[in-house]
Symmetry: C2
DNA sequence: CTGAAAGCGCTTACAG
DNA sequence: CTGAAAGCGCTTACAG
């Protein structure tokens, strides 16, 4: 079913049908109704492909590349991006890549080959190993990054200063009289490294020495975090645990509950991301709000700015806030 | 930059460039390399739009309509669908609609107008009020539904029998000697209704009477569930709480922890969906595994079947399993 | 208010 | 191994 069929059935030219479809130009009211009826009756949908090619427009599709949509951080970002971009008439193609470098490069290639208007990378996991993919993409279309900084033409970043954020947590803990502050992280990403640096800076700023025993890397997931914490707790005095994300923190809290280690009296716990997990757990988790939601809203606006001829913002840094709940008072 | 520019720069016809791009037909090796070099040097990407229009193919895009990607159930489904559909060369356009009927209808219209190959609806929230949107969509393209049943031409459903699942939970609890079994749910969806029916069937099958005080509807979210549970607990004897999802169950568990109500000795708790929350909480939550992952894998296969001329399966029912953890032993 | 014709950027028989 | 030409299904000046 094409515009030619509709034209024939309605007894008009395809130009007129086109006018009716697009509600453009002058069309006699009766003619219009006749065409509309034919369209409806035949369940005709115009070929977007032909429209785009002919009108020189685009599909208004934005590619989103994220690590794992089941992680609440990415889920939040995608949810907000989708909602905000819709306001500007964009839809999203979602690509979740996981660890695989090959999948990442393929995802980017696919998005480029499908002629999306722009690509958004969410998360710092894409910096480092995948940076080439980002730079290559930027040669062909604008690239927007949430929560990482990559310099380059056609690349626009919105981020939270994770290093400062973690430093803030450390100092806050120290000022509460906490002395044995553990830092736990899972993936070895750009973001984790920033947080780790922030941890160290904070420790030094408190006039303490950096003790490698207080820096723990564990596998992702609640269980792994539980075990890693208990193991560390056995061997070293610990009164505070700062985690690089809420899932890890949940593991610490569970382990403490199970072993009757009172939170926060004996051990205080600070999570990161302020996700739903922070309020789903008991005791409610103190967590660092790094404002993904705001970053996502900003990025959608920035994309709109870019395509409207206004100058998009190259680098945008958002504030953070430690949300105090029961695990660290 | 079009195929004409490349042809000119390489000193060949566009036919030859097209052959190189598509790796089809015979092309002299040297010619091919020359064209490839020009393409690379100029960062040329063929217009997918023109390719699709010309070749009579499609963009290989599947639309996914879900309620809320921040809900772990939907996140899991989308993650698996994306991964599995990628294997068949499809990408996904994600649309999260929330409650709004208008957004839902608009999302469907948008997907149809963008000429996706098929639409997947995830979750029972779309049955009932949005059913018209589904039926209309099915007039134009194949519609696949995960976890709800809608009859109609061009509609394919994969689901878990929630009614049976909930009945199973009730009987299991009863057989453990539990007598005062509460059912808590939040949204008033098709799925919740099925679960509620299952609860009632189970209660009757145990030779007990249905007591409306043991059926509690609360707002979504951990906090609301906590309050609703505590309120009910004050007024009625309760030894088991079965929830329509894990978030609600987390609220119950938190409330019990906070009020020193021992789980499962005094109150057993059963969640639903067996999401990450079930293992993120202490005590670890018994939860009903309704196999979204398997349903998603099946749906991707079914879509592939549909487009490969094999007959897609109209109705597919998956089994379920109660995963026993500490909150109900 | 309406239509014939050119053109969007490709692919694909067809001819050589 | 290569290219001229038709055609995919639309939009949009242009002419009337």
């Amino acid at each position: 079913m094409t515009i030619y069929d509709i034209a024939k059935m309605a007894g008009v030219s395809i130009t007129t049908v086109s006018r009716v479809i697009n509600n453009s130009g002058y069309v006699n009211k009766d003619t219009k109704n006749r065409v509309l009826e034919v369209i409806k009756k035949s369940n005709y949908t115009p070929s977007k492909t032909a429209q785009v090619l002919s009108a020189g427009s685009t599909f208004r599709l934005i590619g989103i590349v994220c690590y794992n949509i089941e992680d609440l951080y990415y889920a939040k970002a995608v949810a907000v991006l989708e909602r905000e971009l819709r306001k500007y008439g964009y839809d999203i193609i979602l690509s979740c890549t996981g660890e695989s470098l090959k999948v990442r490069q393929n995802s980017v290639n696919m998005l480029i080959s499908k002629n999306v208007d722009a690509i958004i990378f969410i998360g710092s996991v894409f910096v480092g190993a995948t940076e080439d993919a980002i730079l290559n993409a930027a040669k062909r279309l604008p690239v927007f990054i949430i929560n990482a900084v990559v310099e380059g033409k056609n690349i626009f970043c919105a981020f939270c200063d994770e290093q400062e954020a973690l430093k803030h947590c450390v100092i806050k803990a120290y000022n509460k009289g906490r002395k044995d502050i553990l830092f736990m992280y899972d993936l070895d990403t750009y973001g984790s490294q920033k947080k780790l640096e922030g941890y160290k800076t904070g420790i030094l700023q408190c006039g303490k020495k950096i003790n490698e025993e207080y820096i723990i890397k564990c596998s992702p997931g609640v269980e792994a975090a539980s075990n890693a914490f208990l193991n560390a707790y056995k061997n070293t005095p610990i009164d505070t645990v700062i985690c690089s994300n809420d899932v890890t923190a949940a593991g610490v809290i569970n382990a403490a509950n199970k072993n009757k280690i009172p939170i926060p009296q004996k051990v205080a716990v600070i999570g990161y991301n302020n996700s739903m997990i922070a309020t789903s757990i008991y005791p409610a988790m103190t967590s660092l709000e790094n404002n993904v939601e705001k970053l996502s809203v900003f990025t959608a606006e920035n994309i709109n700015r870019y395509f409207n001829g206004e100058k998009a913002i190259k680098k945008y840094c958002i504030d953070f806030e430690l949300i105090i709940r029961e695990t660290f008072l």
